[in-house]
């Protein structure tokens, strides 16, 4: 078991003929992911490294039965690409693109929330992987291993760091999700924690946050309220220099949330195991798993 994606997932890639799209589609296929279609407007009817290419997402879905879209479209057209996938009825869209204007994402998120039929992961994220089953994103597949730990993170490379530590200790992962570092993202920490709590395979969760916003604080309160699986957390940016001022409005709306120290305290207060160095993530998870299995016996 896993969350959101598994070996049955059928993936279409928007922007498959671009440089990044080509490179990472190939890596996903090598990992074993079923990449069943590509979409590049104007290239429909062609074949890209053995994958059929379509002009539109709707056509690709009708012809191939794809149920996940992976987006590598440049920032200027990425919001449109997400909406096209939602309009074609895809339940899951993973957007890797970095640099989408905030105003575009504000409209996309509001539209998706109103429709209620499509979950967006990202943008500006490494994607999602269920080790041993399918990789839908840009993470290096070989560092992963199937197992009981769910990983959710706002950062890309820091997620790989955590995963590699787990794997080195022989601890596998159920599903790893990068929710993205943009101010507006489709899926929140809380959304993913809820899924991990329901997933029978996931026994513990690694949550990697960073300074800014209030998503980690919300996750902490959710964990206290609704989770009984242990969570290990690292917050990046403990030593980041105080920001050059972003005006008063940012400070007013954040209401004092957003610092690493504040996030770590809230998480600790809510029973999350907070580590100070990313190097301690693996060890802390190992201990958490032992404690839980001890409780079961």
């Amino acid at each position: 078991m896993s969350i959101l994606v598994d070996s049955k997932s059928r993936v279409l890639v928007q922007g498959i003929t671009g440089r990044e799209g080509t490179f990472h589609s190939r890596a996903c296929r090598e990992y074993g992911t079923a990449i069943v279609a590509g979409v590049t407007p104007g290239r429909g009817g062609s074949d890209h490294e053995g994958v059929p290419v379509f002009h539109t997402v709707r056509e690709a879905v009708e012809k191939t039965g794809a149920d996940v879209s992976l987006i590598f479209v440049p920032p200027v057209a990425a919001a449109d690409a997400i909406l096209e996938s939602a309009d074609a009825g895809l339940p899951l869209v993973v957007c890797i693109t970095e640099g989408i204007p905030i105003a575009d994402m504000v409209k996309v998120r509001a539209t998706l929330e109103r429709r209620g039929t499509t979950r967006l992961i990202g943008p500006n994220c490494p994607g999602i992987i269920t080790p041993g089953a399918c990789k839908i994103g840009i993470m290096p597949g070989y560092i992963h291993k199937p197992g009981p730990v769910g990983v959710v993170s706002r950062s890309g490379t820091l997620t790989y760091e955590a995963v590699a530590q787990l794997t080195r200790r022989g601890i596998g992962q159920s599903t790893c999700i990068g929710i993205g570092g943009d101010p507006i993202s489709g899926t929140s920490f809380v959304d993913v924690l809820r899924l991990f709590q329901q997933d029978p395979v996931t026994e513990a969760v690694v949550l990697i946050g960073e300074i800014g916003g209030g998503a980690e604080e919300e996750a902490a309160r959710f964990a206290r309220r609704e989770m009984n699986k242990p969570i290990v957390s690292f917050i990046a940016g403990q030593t980041a220099p105080p920001g050059r001022r972003m005006g008063h409005a940012g400070a007013i709306i954040s209401g004092g949330q957003g610092t690493a120290a504040g996030k770590m305290k809230t998480l600790e207060d809510c029973g999350v195991r907070v580590v100070r160095s990313p190097e301690e993530i693996g060890e802390s998870v190992e201990r958490a798993l032992k404690d839980t299995s001890g409780r079961r016996r």
């Binding site: 440089r19 440049p74 920032p75 200027v76 970095e98 640099g99 204007p101 905030i102 105003a103 994402m105 504000v106 409209k107 998120r109 509001a110 840009i138 993470m139 290096p140 560092i143 993170s153 706002r154 950062s155 890309g156 490379t157 820091l158 790989y160 760091e161 590699a164 570092g181 101010p183 507006i184 990697i208 960073e210 300074i211 800014g212 916003g213 209030g214 919300e218 690292f234 990046a236 940016g237 403990q238 030593t239 980041a240 220099p241 105080p242 920001g243 050059r244 001022r245 972003m246 005006g247 008063h248 409005a249 400070a251 007013i252 709306i253 209401g255 004092g256 100070r276 160095s277 990313p278």
Partner: protein, 406 residues
């Protein structure tokens, strides 16, 4: 700030401007285009022009130093001239001075431009601002009857004193919301009409320039009953600059750290700090975590540098040259976990830079990810004083040791 800046790396678009900050007078010009009344005034680059502007305003004028930092009044950056001669005197003293404010740091900023404006009789000071409410994923318009310099304390101590109108992303900011704010502020009669026009203009300015923040503080009511933006601040969404050439032109590189200007010319996300360990990392989260670990083992990072996801070998070479141009750097830590950025591409960039300029300090590299073996091989053959590390903590200990021994 790092969180704000983590999104600036654009795939495959090296050399584009990642970030534009603007001066008060430029913010006022933008707001004025959307119908927000601002005091009469002009910007001057020398005392002669400042005096001429003051003369056009009738002699009496306020001179405001234009730097990219707030708190200017407390540092002597805002002064009133009673007549043209005084305006000339103040401008002579202000232009070229180093202004230190709570936001500039102890080094301060050199003043190169002054805004010369008419003086006004103030009856009331209001705060109004628009920003993104990340939790809701939509803009919010905020206003307070108690504008001025203490607005953040008010927000903290008495949050009920801040009125908030969430904006529906698909419907936009509605007139009734602007009216609700105006009445909530206790405005009356014609003031309400003026306020509604100002609030909607502020929101439109945000939408049409892709501003991430726009605020008027204070929005004054003059003794004659006119509402006017006495000070204004506008920040932009860096991701949207590609569709605003007119805003890219407002950039003032005199206000930026020279190495940061150089980095931005190469499409790199770099922030200069004061330590001795130069850092080159991919991904903002890992870059911040690397700085955290360096501090944890007793060192101090010289910079934040995220070479980003899709950096080319040329960009990496430029990044390495920038690290070498920082005189404080004693040793460099390269921490790469390759996903999009392949480790071999990074290694080739570092090797190129090493060949071009010669590297005078030790380099510790911690490499993992896509094509890592090839990357290690390239780096080992690059003629560097290179130490390979196993893990972040090991890398940090090694580099801090090397930086300390020099």
């Amino acid at each position: 700030m790092l969180a704000e800046r983590r999104n600036r790396c654009q795939k495959g678009l090296s050399g584009r401007i990642r970030r534009v900050k603007i001066h008060e007078y430029q913010a006022k010009q933008i707001l004025a285009r959307f119908g927000v009344p601002v005091p009469k005034g002009e910007v001057a680059f020398n005392p002669k022009d400042a005096a001429a502007i003051a003369a056009r305003l009738g002699g009496r004028a306020v001179l405001k130093a234009q730097i990219h930092a707030g708190g200017r009044g407390k540092g002597g950056g805002v002064k009133i001239a009673a007549n043209v001669e005084e305006a000339d005197q103040i401008a002579r003293q202000m232009i070229g001075m180093t202004l230190v404010t709570p936001q500039t740091g102890p080094a301060g900023r050199k003043v190169r431009r002054v805004l010369v404006e008419e003086t006004l009789q103030i009856a009331r000071e209001i705060y109004v601002g628009v920003t993104l409410d990340r939790g809701r994923g939509a803009p919010v318009v905020m206003a307070s009857a108690e504008g001025g310099v203490n607005i953040e304390e008010i927000a903290r101590d008495r949050p009920e004193a801040i009125l908030r109108e969430p904006v529906d992303p698909l419907l936009g900011f509605r007139a009734y919301q602007a009216r609700r704010l105006a009445f909530g502020l206790g405005l009356k009669g014609d003031e309400v009409k003026q306020a509604v026009s100002i609030f909607t203009g502020l929101m439109r300015a945000c939408e049409e320039t892709d501003a991430s923040l726009a605020e008027i503080n204070p929005l004054i009511v003059t003794t004659q009953g006119a509402l006017m933006a006495l000070d204004a601040k506008v920040n932009f969404d860096d991701n949207a600059l590609f569709r605003h050439p007119e805003i890219r032109e407002l950039r003032d590189t005199d206000e930026e750290e020279p190495l940061e200007v150089e980095a931005s010319a190469h499409g790199l996300n770099y922030i200069k700090l004061d330590g001795t360990v130069g850092c080159m990392v991919n991904g903002a989260g890992l870059a911040m975590a690397t700085m955290d670990v360096i501090k944890l083992v007793g060192g101090a990072p010289a910079n934040f540098l995220d070479v980003g996801g899709g950096a080319s070998a040329e960009q990496v070479a430029a990044a390495f040259r920038i690290l070498m141009a920082d005189p404080k750097v004693k040793a460099v830590l390269i921490n790469i976990f390759g996903g999009i950025l392949r480790v071999d591409v990074l290694a080739r960039g570092v090797a190129d830079a090493a060949r071009q300029v010669g590297v005078k300090f030790p380099v510790v590299a911690r490499l993992e990810g896509t094509n890592v073996e090839e990357g290690r091989r390239i780096l080992q053959q690059a003629g560097l004083n290179l130490t390979l590390a196993d893990g972040m903590l090991d890398a940090a200990r090694k580099v801090v040791g090397l930086a300390g021994n020099r």
